[in-house]
């Protein structure tokens, strides 16, 4: 899957670019708002990795389920959770998508089957297997299985949870997509210093799971691979593994002095900025005019603006409600 993917229609190309830009601008705003102490706790940005979520999400339908990590703003945004409710969540306001209980690392949207936002590395993977198991038990619909898509970092692949989950999904032939966001670092630990075998697809093979390695800086390549994998999974092909090779342009979180990598390396990767690459390709092919780009940037900026305004105007949950949501309330459980 390393040949160049042909360009899609103008409309679809714009859609992909727009979605990547929306993530980028949203994340940039988050970084500023963190400095301004509007957002607190841990904050992990997706800048540089936008093509991964964007491409994979194209393959997913509303009936599919998603599990992501603490680096999940972009995933939630593309899933359709409003930027307003995501930003309000990070402000800790009760209008947030998790009512301000979860914060940046725990975005949830049950209606859209977006099941977090998990801050235990590897902790979401078994969950995704279970979401797939439910579908397997219910059997495929006319149109195949709803797919359970799980995003995780390459660092998570050293965890026992990853191994056990891969085996379970493969053994039981579950409709699960394992989407590894290989950004080469787990905090400060480079892949070479965390895995004896750095070809991650070989690990999937050890479970007899089809696995493809994809250029995660090329949104079209990601989209194509994800669609092929999801299509196979949906129609009974069992779980698939995608290694999406990308890079995190920013620090791991807002507390990271980045002592573990050279500036040069970061700069080299920035030359493969997924947004810039895609934009250049579209421009070259005459698929993107200056106006188009301006419109995309304007829409993204407006979305961010609306989100901040919404969050600023959001309200604090009354402290009296502190012990709500520990167990279900009658209306929730009906």
């Amino acid at each position: 899957m390393s040949d160049t993917v042909p360009l899609p229609t103008r409309e679809h190309a714009h859609r992909l670019l727009e979605r990547m830009v929306r993530i980028r601008r949203f994340e940039e705003a988050c970084a500023e708002l963190y400095q301004a102490t509007k957002i607190r706790g841990f904050l992990h940005l997706y800048i540089g990795e936008e093509a991964v979520a964007t491409g994979v999400m194209e393959a997913l339908e509303p009936r599919d389920a998603i599990v992501a990590t603490y680096r999940e703003h972009g995933h939630a945004l593309l899933r359709g959770t409003s930027a307003e409710s995501i930003m309000a969540e990070m402000y800790g306001k009760q209008e947030g998508c998790s009512r301000g209980r979860g914060g940046s690392m725990h975005l949830y949207d049950d209606e859209r089957r977006f099941y977090g936002g998990n801050a235990i590395v590897g902790g979401g993977i078994p969950l995704a297997v279970g979401l797939g198991l439910a579908e397997k038990l219910r059997g495929p619909g006319e149109d195949g299985y709803p797919v359970s898509a799980c995003f995780f970092g390459e660092g998570a692949m050293a965890e026992g949870a990853f191994h056990e989950s891969m085996n379970l999904a493969a053994l039981w032939d579950l409709p699960v997509l394992f989407a590894c966001e290989n950004n080469r670092y787990a905090m400060g630990t480079a892949l070479e210093r965390s895995q004896s075998e750095t070809d991650l697809t070989l690990k999937a093979s050890a479970y007899r799971m089809p696995a493809w390695s994809v250029d995660g800086m090329d949104v079209l390549a990601v989209e194509r691979a994800a669609k092929a994998a999801v299509d196979a999974i949906r129609h009974g092909g069992g779980p698939h593994f995608l290694e999406l090779r990308t890079y995190r342009f920013r620090a791991h979180s807002m507390f990271d002095p980045e002592l573990y990598r050279e500036k040069d390396e970061v700069e080299r990767w920035k030359e493969r900025d997924p947004i810039a690459l895609f934009r250049a390709r579209l421009e070259e092919a005459g698929l993107l005019g200056e106006d188009d780009l301006a419109a995309i940037e304007k829409a993204a900026a407006e979305e961010v603006g609306r989100a901040i305004e919404f969050a600023e105007n959001g309200t604090w949950e009354p402290v009296e409600q502190l012990v709500r949501f520990v167990t279900s309330e009658p209306e929730v459980t009906a």
Binding site: A65, V67, G96, C97, S98, R99, G100, R101, G102, H106, Y108, D109, D110, Y115, G116, G117, N118, I120, G123, I125, P126, L127, A128, V129, G130, L131, G132, L133, A134, E135, L137, S148, G160, A161, E164, S165, N167, L168, L171, R324, F325, V326, T327, S328, E329, V332, T333
Partner: protein
């Protein structure tokens, strides 16, 4: 383990509840069978629940009845299959996950604490987890240090979980239904020493999963316990009765949330409490009960609550050493006498 396989009780119709004689093991099996017949969403998953029949033969015969999809053997992967139970529950199923024993549940504790118990809260009330996890617990069978834990007290520390400890055949038969109906995760701890215990019970039977139960009425002292220790405590109460001491025995049944009304109620009545708990003493569930009694009924107490717990030692293999490590009726009797002696009101000839 022979008894596990054979017996299958006839099930009474709903209109004429009959009584049946069941072992604790059979009662658990009957409860699971009933639940799976009633509700397609219910399935059983765990190590060796299928072809082997369950490591304590609880699910013996269920594979034949329900097939391998719904009586699902798992690999040795506690993190993954417990996590998968959570995910399946969130997706609308009603899984019963069997973790063979509490000893192995540590391998799934992250999933239980950081996902099952917290996801409802982290999602601001959106995503509940209607999951039941069953596991055997307890010592007393010479299985040594790694296979003899009583860690239900740890689980009772976790907000978001309901923790059940059936100690009677009736509760073994009746608790699973309401546990599955609970929208949130419920853990059921089955003391392995109880599986062979038999009793005649109504079937089907309705029990609640909210309250403690007085298993013996008494005036002089409240013995508060749960699970496998209930029977040692009842036996101690008999011994005490012979000596003129009238002990009330409270079976906690529900370890989280604790039934404060019942705990304080019995203590207000007897003014003396002895807490019996197979967990290690320091940090035991009995410590929590003691703290609550003092917080709720301090001025009703004639003496400080005493604890009869396991000694603070990994459980040894040798029989005499293991017995010495665990709560036993004679230790309970001695503790009661000490408590009653402490305020000079000791009854009987003890």
């Amino acid at each position: 383990m022979s008894e596990g396989a054979a017996t299958e009780t006839t099930r009474p119709t709903e209109t004429t509840p009959a009584t049946v004689t069941l072992s604790f093991r059979e009662a658990m099996r009957a409860a699971m069978t009933e639940a799976m017949e009633r509700d397609e969403r219910v399935f059983l998953m765990g190590e060796d629940v299928g072809a082997y029949g369950g490591c304590y033969a609880v699910s013996m015969g269920m594979l034949d009845r329900f097939g391998p999809e719904r009586v699902r053997d798992t690999p040795l992967s506690e993190t993954a299959f417990v996590g998968a139970g959570i995910g399946a529950a969130m997706a609308g199923m009603r899984p019963i996950v069997e973790v063979m024993t509490v000893n192995f549940s540590l391998l799934a504790l992250d999933q239980i604490l950081n996902t099952a118990a917290t996801v409802l809260h982290m999602s601001g009330g959106q995503c509940n987890v209607p999951l039941v996890i069953r596991m055997a617990t307890g010592a007393g069978r010479q299985l040594a240090a790694q296979h003899s834990h009583s860690l239900e007290g740890w689980y009772a520390h976790i907000p978001g979980l309901r923790i059940l400890a059936p100690a009677t055949v009736e509760d073994a038969r009746g608790m699973l239904g309401p546990a599955l109906a609970d929208p949130d995760p419920v853990l059921i701890f089955e003391n392995a020493a109880l599986y062979a215990m038999k009793a005649e019970i109504a079937d089907p039977v309705e029990v609640d999963i909210a309250q403690a139960a007085v298993r013996r009425q008494g005036r002089d002292v409240s013995l508060i316990t749960y699970g496998g220790s209930l029977h040692k405590t009842l036996s101690a109460a008999e011994t005490l009765a012979e000596q003129g001491i009238d002990a009330e025995v409270l079976d906690l049944r529900v370890l989280r949330p604790l039934d404060d009304a019942a705990i304080n109620g019995t203590v207000r009545k007897t003014h003396h409490a002895v807490l019996v708990d197979e967990g290690w003493r320091s940090g035991s569930l009995a410590a929590e009960v003691s703290a609550r009694i003092v917080e709720g009924a301090f001025f009703d107490l004639d003496a400080p609550p005493a604890r009869v717990c396991s000694e603070e030692v990994p459980i040894p293999y040798a029989k005499h050493m293991e017995e010495a490590a665990l709560p036993q009726p004679d230790k309970i009797v001695a503790a009661v006498k000490a408590v009653l002696g402490a305020d000079g009101t000791e009854g009987g000839d003890g």
